[in-house]
């Protein structure tokens, strides 16, 4: 691989762009190969060696009577692309648990770059130094970003880098590389977390919501965050649409909000109306409820032999159980706060807490079979009996 690069370097200044492109391609292919092996350390070192190998090429070019200014110009595009390559490279290599490893590896290029600096001479050195410093700076920035802001910004930067790379490819007309990069990037990502390629989707990771920038959309962190927020809101609006009847035709948040407000108001009015109705019926609640249940469900009468009390006793018990009944209600409430398996179990458990003087154990056993709610009154009968004893 490296001998081929040296041969590339022998091209003249006129073919400079070509050499750069070819180098890029070569690098990508090499990167691909390396990635398949999943040997990041080797990649880093090898990439560093690429940098170092590029230096003698420039030295050679210098020898072909290039002035310093031109050399700087020469340097800059190479450096620019190189740094981006490096970024992409870093983005690909740094992933998940290997992050620590790659961080260490980031130190390596600097050392190698120093080594390369020592080989250069004169103005070349300064130019390359600036390039290296720039690379170093960007590496440091990248490191800092990764360390401080975490995976979220890193992945967004990844998306940005991918997007940037896409743009550049259009300029340089490297469609192959783009597809390679895409597949590489997506393959990399899919290795870490299974997600779709080249489409906006939320990557599932423990702490952050990762959004991939769609093709042709803005990729800065603000717009990504905005998009994520908008998607969340639209999901919730859809959920509300299911709840509120007759909202399917209405599009737009304002109309939906109006409908929601109207619906909530109507529901609250209904509750008020029903509460007045209940209040009117309430005086007869205590005495009618049990009667109703008994009338309409004679089958259950046999299940409640404990309910067979003399009328006087029943009335007395009704009055005396006032404080105990409060306890019962409190127990029910407590029991439901710490959820039991079924409602009847909860009632049974609540009833167990109340002293047995007030409750017949038979009542508890009677409640056990009622695990399903066929109609409302059955449950009411249950509850009434439980409360009454």
């Amino acid at each position: 691989m490296f001998p081929s690069l040296h041969s590339l370097g022998s091209c003249t200044y006129n073919g400079m762009d070509l050499t750069v492109l070819e180098k890029q391609q070569a690098r990508l292919k090499w990167l691909q190969q390396q990635q398949q092996q999943q040997n990041y350390v080797v990649q880093n070192n090898a990439h560093v060696e690429l940098c170092t190998s590029s230096v003698p090429q420039f030295q050679g070019l210098l020898g072909s009577s290039l002035c310093g200014g031109q050399l700087v110009e020469l340097k800059m595009p190479e450096v620019y692309l190189g740094s981006d390559d490096f970024h992409k490279f870093v983005n690909f290599s740094v992933a998940g648990p290997e992050f620590g490893v790659s961080k260490m590896d980031l130190v390596m290029p600097e050392a190698a770059a120093d080594y390369s600096i020592s080989r250069t001479s004169g103005c070349q050195m300064t130019a390359f130094q600036t390039a290296v410093i720039k690379e170093e700076g960007e590496d440091v920035v990248l490191e800092k970003m990764e360390s401080t802001t975490g995976r979220e910004s890193f992945n967004k930067r990844k998306a940005k880098a991918v997007a940037d790379y896409k743009c550049k490819d259009k300029k340089i007309k490297e469609v192959e590389a783009e597809s390679e990069v895409k597949t590489k990037c997506s393959a990399e990502v899919s290795r870490n977390s299974s997600k779709e390629k080249s489409k906006a989707s939320e990557v599932q990771k423990p702490d952050y919501i990762h959004v991939r920038a769609r093709r042709g959309q803005a990729t800065d962190s603000h717009s990504l965050a905005e998009r994520a927020r908008r998607e969340k809101i639209s999901k919730k609006m859809k959920c509300l649409q299911d709840l509120v009847p007759g909202c399917n035709k209405i599009t737009g948040k304002a109309g939906m909000l109006d409908e929601i407000i109207n619906y909530v108001q109507s529901l609250q009015r209904q509750v008020e109306f029903l509460s007045t109705k209940l209040a009117a019926l309430n005086p007869s609640v205590e005495f009618n409820v049990d009667n109703l249940h008994v009338k309409e469900f004679p089958a259950y009468v046999a299940n409640f032999p404990a309910a067979a009390k003399s009328p006087a006793m029943a009335n007395l018990a009704c009055l005396q159980l006032n404080p105990l009944q409060k306890e019962a209600v409190n127990c029910i409430l407590d029991a439901t706060m710490h959820p039991p398996g079924t409602a009847t179990e909860g009632i049974a458990s609540a009833s167990m807490l109340i002293p047995e003087q007030a409750l017949g154990s038979s009542c508890v056993t009677q409640l056990q079979p009622f695990s399903t709610w066929n109609t409302d009154p059955q449950c009411l009968y249950n509850v009434y009996n439980m409360g009454f004893h």
């Binding site: 599932q204 702490d207 209040a279 003399s310 006087a312 009434y384």
Partner: protein
């Protein structure tokens, strides 16, 4: 997977809350996990078990309030119904906690505070600025209205209000269903019964 885990766990609970907690062990992210949780919570209001629980609690609470205070004011009934609904929510949502806390602290005091604040603000600020600001955000005004309707959601972000509203609507629907059932049943009972209660109880229970 979640059901398997729940079987292995020593607790006898099979409620959706526990199933949700165990699901955390599997590969669910906070985003989708949260969404699942919200959807489950909303669907919970539709289950019959929830209606069962609510109706039983409501009847007990009504009977209790009936015994403590002789008056059957509709506001009281409404408040009990709301309180029991909030209890059924098991304190996971904002509106339920708001209902419960507002009942504990006197509601009148809060209203007085609000009135005092409004009066003070109008006196200190210049009237022109207030008028200008009121008309501008139509959307935000609607949001405020919704925030006022749902208890405890006055100063929430848009997405949070939407979440709370969806849960609140589901809960209200269940409340209306249960209360209609109860009133229908009691109305039928009132229409049917004519004997004195004690006798009815005794005679009907004994087979």
């Amino acid at each position: 997977m979640a059901s398997l885990l729940s079987d292995l766990e020593p607790g006898p609970d099979t409620s959706p809350e526990f199933k949700r907690k165990k699901r955390r062990i599997t590969n669910e992210t906070p985003a989708s996990f949260h969404r699942n949780q919200v959807n489950q919570r909303i669907k919970r209001w539709r289950t019959e078990r929830e209606q069962q629980v609510y109706s039983s609690k409501l009847i007990e609470a009504l009977r209790r309030s009936r015994r403590t205070s002789s008056s059957a004011a509709p506001n009281e009934v409404r408040e009990t119904a709301d309180r029991v609904l909030a209890v059924s929510a098991k304190g996971t949502t904002r509106w339920s906690t708001a209902i419960l806390t507002s009942r504990l602290s006197s509601g009148a005091k809060m209203r007085e505070h609000r009135k005092a604040k409004v009066i003070a603000n109008t006196r200190l600020k210049k009237p022109k600025i207030n008028r200008e600001k009121r008309k501008l955000p139509v959307f935000e005004r609607k949001l405020k209205v919704l925030g006022r309707l749902v208890p405890g959601c006055r100063k929430l972000s848009f997405s949070n209000i939407l979440e709370e509203t969806s849960d609140y609507i589901a809960a209200l629907q269940m409340q209306v269903r249960v209360m209609t059932a109860i009133t229908e049943f009691l109305a039928d009972g009132v229409g049917g019964g004519s004997q004195p209660p004690a006798d009815r109880l005794g005679s009907n229970v004994n087979p």
